[in-house]
Each structure stands twice: as C-alpha cells, then as structure tokens.
Subunit: 448 residues, 2 copies
Amino acid sequence: MKKMNWTEYYSEHTKYRKEVEAGELEQYIGETVQIHGMVYKIRKMSDFAFVLLRTKRSIVQCIYSREYSTFPLEQLQEESAVRMTAKVIAEERSRMGYELQLLSAEVLSLPEEISPIVINNKKVDTSLENLLNYRPVTLRNEKERAVFKLQEGICRAFREFLYKEGFTEIHTPKIVAEGAEGGANIFKLDYFGKQAYLAQSPQFYKQMMVGVFERVFEIAPVFRAEKHDTARHLNEYTSVDFEMGFIESFEEIMQMETGMLAFTMQYLQMHYELELALLKVQLPEITSIPAVKFMEAKELVAKAYQREIRDVSDFEPEEEKLLCELIKKKTGSEFVFVTHYPSAKRPFYAKECGENPEETLSFDLLFRGLEVTTGGQRIHNYREQVEKMERRGMKVEAFESYLMMHKAGMPPHGGLGLGLERLTGRLLGQENVRYAALFPRDMNRVTP
Amino acid sequence: MKKMNWTEYYSEHTKYRKEVEAGELEQYIGETVQIHGMVYKIRKMSDFAFVLLRTKRSIVQCIYSREYSTFPLEQLQEESAVRMTAKVIAEERSRMGYELQLLSAEVLSLPEEISPIVINNKKVDTSLENLLNYRPVTLRNEKERAVFKLQEGICRAFREFLYKEGFTEIHTPKIVAEGAEGGANIFKLDYFGKQAYLAQSPQFYKQMMVGVFERVFEIAPVFRAEKHDTARHLNEYTSVDFEMGFIESFEEIMQMETGMLAFTMQYLQMHYELELALLKVQLPEITSIPAVKFMEAKELVAKAYQREIRDVSDFEPEEEKLLCELIKKKTGSEFVFVTHYPSAKRPFYAKECGENPEETLSFDLLFRGLEVTTGGQRIHNYREQVEKMERRGMKVEAFESYLMMHKAGMPPHGGLGLGLERLTGRLLGQENVRYAALFPRDMNRVTP
C-alpha cells in the first residue's frame, strides 16, 4: 500500500475549498482570506458594525464598514450561515489580537425566525428548565458550548492516558439480561417478546474482558431508573469505566485514577486553554489524593461540624460536602478517596476485607463535595463469589455467563466507574449536573 | 500547577511493581525479568515443557525445564494467573525472536474447572452458536481477541482523523422521545410511566450539534428492533457517526469518509501489525473510491450477470455482492459508493436532488459485498423540511425540538453513519457480523 499522509491525499484527490480556519487567522495578518461560519451577533455602531462570526471553536470579531464592505449590512442576519472574504488586521483591543475587515459576503442560509431566547450574550439568561427546553439553540451560546468542548478534552485525555497504560478499549452491550448493580433501579425493555434491561454499568463485561486483555476501558452510556430528582442525578449518563487485572491491592486502582486525573488536568491546560479561560475554570492541583476510611470519614465530619451520625452505612450528600471542605482545609486537596465502604452497601461482586468481612476493598472518589467515582477490588475466585451470592439469597443460575469467567480462572482485579457529567460539572463549578449533559435525561425529561 | 509528566508522577508517588511488559522483552535479552499473565497453554515435551503466557497483547513463549526452573511444573495450570521470574534468551525459532527460561513462579489464582471448549488452539473449533455462548472464555483465544484489538485500532484511527479535521466529539442520549429513522424497527421502553424509545441513530442530535460546533462525531451504541436474523444484522451495534456543516455538495462527505478510511488503513498498518499478521488481514488499498449512481449500478449488475431488476427502490444483498465484484474487476477498488438513492427509500430529512426530487443527495458505501455506511446531505431549510414531512403525512408537532434548529438557522450540512462491526467483519473476511461484536445482540440472543 502506498504510504501517503492524509493532507497530501486530500489535496491530491479533492478540489476541497481553500478556506482559512479561525485558529490559523493569526498567520494571515495583512492578508485577505476566505472564512465561513454562523453570524453570532451584529452590533451596530454609529458608522460601522461589529459582526461576530461563530466558527468551529472560536468567535471571530469582524468589522463591517461602508468604507470597504461591498454588500449591505442588512444582508446579514444573526444565525445566518455565511461565507465571507475579509482582510485580517492586527487589533490590540480584540480578544484574539486581530480582527477581520469584511469585504464581501455570501449568505448560504437564513434562519426562519428569531430564537425566543437570547443566546448571543455573555451567558444565556434564563432558567435551567428553559435552557434545556431550547437546547438545540442555547448550546450555540459561546460559553454553553465551551462546556462540551472541555468535556471532549476530558475524554480524549482519559483515552490517551489509558492507551499508554496498556488498556484496551471495548464496546459492551447496553441491552442485557441481568442488571449488574441489582435493585429496582433498572429500565425494562420488551426484547422480541422477552424481558430485557438497559445496562446500569458495563460491570460484568469489563470484568470478563479482564480475563481477555488484562486491562480494559469503555466510555459509554449507562442507564439508571433512579427516582431521584436532584441536582446530582441523571437517568442516563456517560460512564468512564476501567478494569485492571493482576492488582496486589485495591489501592492500585486509586493510584491509576490519580494518574489519570493528573494527566487529564495537564492535558486540558495544554490543549483546551481557550475554553478554560472563557469559563474561568480553576483546575484542581493533583499531586496525590488523600484517602480516608469510610467510618473515620463519618466520624471526622461528625466531630468537626458537631453533627450526629444518622446513617452508618452510607454518606448523606451534606456529609460529602463537609468532608471535602474539611479535607481541603487540612491537606489542600480538592479530591478525597473514601475507602472501605460497608459490605452491606456494596454490590455482590465487591471483595471483602480479609480481616473484616463487614468492610469491602472499595472506594469512592469525592471531588468538590460530590461523589464522582465508585470503584474497588472484585471477587475473582469462583467459590468465594458463589458463596457470597448464596449468602445474599441471589439466584446463582441467573448469572451463569457472568460466573463462567470465574470458573475459567481470573486474575485478582478491580476497577472503577466515573460519571463524566459529574466530573465536568464539578470542574466547572456548576450547580446542577444537567448543565454538563448535552441533552440530559431525568425523570421528567426525554426531550429534546 | 506544577507540570510533571505522568511517568515521573507515577514513580514518585507510587510503589508500583517493577514488572516488564511483553512488548519490552526484546530489550531485556540476556537479563532476568519479572512478568505476569495467564497461562495460555502448557505443552509437555520429553524433558522440558513449553509454557505459553497470555499477556495484555501477545502470547509469550516460556520454557520450563528442571535444569533451571525451581518449581514443579504441576503448579501451573492452563488459565491460572501467574507472576514469574525468567531469563530472556534469544531464540530464532520462536515467533518473537526470543523466549523465556522460567526460573520461579507465583500462582495468583487457579481456575475452578477446565473450560468445556478448547480455547488455546490456533482457532476455537466450534460452532458460531457455541463460540458466542461461551464468549467470556472463547475471547481468550489469541485470534478471537485480536479481532477486538484491531477494532480498537479502527476507533482510535477514526477519532484521531476526525479530531485533526476539526470535528468535536459528542455524547447524545440513547433514550429518546421519537425515532430518527421512522418505521416499526424501534425498541420501546417504559420511562417512568411514559413511553420512550431506544435511539436508532444519533441523527437528530448530531444535526443539532452541527449548528453548535459545525463538525461533530460520535462513536456509540444504536439499537434497531429489526426482525432480521441474518449474517449481516445486529439489533445493537456500534455506530460511527459524523456530521459536517458548510458543505457545497454531498460528495464532500464521501471525500471525508475516503480520507478517514485511507488514514485508518495506514494507522492499522503502523500500530496494529501484530494483529494484522496474526489474522492474515489483507488491508484494502484506498486511493480514491469509485462512485456510481443507484440506478446505473442496478443496470450494470443486471447486464453483467444477466439478472432481472426486481426491486427498483433498493438493493438486494446479492446485487451488493455482485456490484462489488464488478467494480473490483473494473477499477481494482474494494469499496464503491452508490449515490442518489430513491427518495422513497430514504428518511424524511434526506435532501432531494434539485433537478430530480425522486432522487436524494445520498450515498451508501459498499465494501467487499456489504453496505457499511449510509450518508447524505440533509435538509437545512425549515420550510423545505416541514413541507416534506407534511407530504409524507408525518405529525410535524411531534418533531418540535428537532425542527427548532431548522427554525433557528442551519448551514447546509450532511453526514454519515458507519457500522463498526460490519466494517471490522469485512476487513477480516468474516462470514457473519456476529464475529465482530464482543457480545452480539440478535433476535434470539441477549446473553452473555
């Protein structure tokens, strides 16, 4: 096969338009270029007008003036698609250090009507409800869309890190015969006359794949039929899952996550500076992440804030917030691992502590007051797993294909699941996780 | 934030095991190393034994001999997880150019019982049905898993290419209120007492996102309730979708796909040589891909193979095969674009030909006899879209949030959806698309 790079290929085989990308404009100062985009905002001044052009990633400031613009300004409308020729001139007062003097314009399409919501101000000034109802339009706001460009960056960084660490990317089914997390929080589905479910997590499959590739990951949707209508819950979200074999302790999983998060913050700083600046993001410093045992954490919070411990088997949301506050004060870290959750609150595949079977070799990661990850070591021994299922009164036969891997032999292993929207939301200091989902799904919302 | 690369970070903050990865072994010839993996196969010879170790990506040949091995061979079982010390020695007869002399072994876990299917031969010698029933185990076969390592490579290459071309990666919901492709082939779901559906494609959402980022892509599961039990159909599959704005013709989408595929073949050749060799893959040469109009293609096949044209609105599977055969003979290309599909067979959002509204500005891509991609230009004008929906007798109100984008203004745009499993399957010359899905879903299968 002839080796050719794509750019050569593209110019050799296509008559692709020669247009300038917004990111390259700086190289063209003093020159005339062709550029396209959507008209984001027109601001008329006394004898000229600012025309802001929304391109793939940035808003480009253009100047319309009768002096050099050869078309009537009225030809342009906000949210029309245009192709223009313009001269790039240095301009210190512009955010980019240059602006475009519009010469000619070709209007490719016009909007049918003006959006009922103003989208081209600094922020979209409306309720969350409205923001979501009009998502196809409100996402066109510069800051709204920057959230999702950053979210892309998080995924890219995760993948790059995991590839380097020898993980294989997998695609596991979302229609399943058994829920991995148990309980009633599962969507039911009629599957050609049989009952099936939507996967709550890729748990069973990623474990199976540890027997195949040793280290695997998946970034994909998961579905939880939780009847929680809170600022932290989505009924469909993007889960970042990894699972790794040959661990000596569950702390290795935490180490891997620490590395992944540290790498990701650096990656964003290097490749997503534009969005970080626009959204004024304070990236957390990650050198190491403190870890505290579940019961100790409960007691720490109770003592520091004079609170009663009401639930000894789980955290209250308020406790998570206070714990993060406390840890930040004590250590400076905005992340904290909480380890050794009670066995009663963890799923049947969680591995218990050798010395104390009431506790599991598990952890949550809290970030700025919210749980963003759940992880832990899994049971790899067949008998140990079957016995635990029997103790819990589960129907072992129903998990035949899951247990097939334990029977066939598995290395000691564990992993985690991270909620992409939660991490994004905390990173950006958003009050509601719905802000970090393009088209969020909650109990009351399946549109847009 | 202190900048530190991950390796420094990792060695500074963790006491991570110093073990050698299989890929690095060549650098250690003459040295003693520690390595871990699953025992894949033990082959006893008269006075020594071959022990094949399955590591993350490759099978490493080890030699057990009483001369230097300090443990009884009986300690090792196939599919046990082991950590071993070994001396790396050059060995020409070994596939890798070296082998490992086993010194000591630590057994981390043992299988409960021997798998009912032999998985450590060159190929798993069983029916497709059995292969899939025992997937958690049969995927451990060297060749079976190589399929999915290659599939990872395809996704990596796609993403890398699309990032470079200015596409933004998105995550769109899979629980939806309306099907994008119409028809009865849609899974229904009880969503908190209301009826919802599983997304047949991210079509509506990726179009909306063109209004936001101009170019977007997604690699994610889609769901089709098709009652087709064939070698080409899956009821859940991984769809590679991209959508791009500011196109001048639908051929630009085909050009982009040609570039993406050409880049991908090069990428596989560079980064997945191991798997290509193991599976004896013949990568297709892609310089340019011939395109032929739908009706012409039908007539070409009819004439060349003396066949009657029975269905003037769609291809029969046999015709797709014959067309590919013919095109390969004529041009050498294993890919062929078929363009201008009849309007009647394309969804309501397909843009029609200016001169002939019976035809759409659309295409399929066929590869080695099978359709792997469907794409085309979409209607971007609000009135044009509403009129087409009305002509088709659709309830326009039900698509309010979809039409919101047309109303607000959209650039001319189009895109495509590619079936990852179909492409993988054709690349590897597999007879059934189920071989290219980790855990395939068909009318009769939701497990494992």
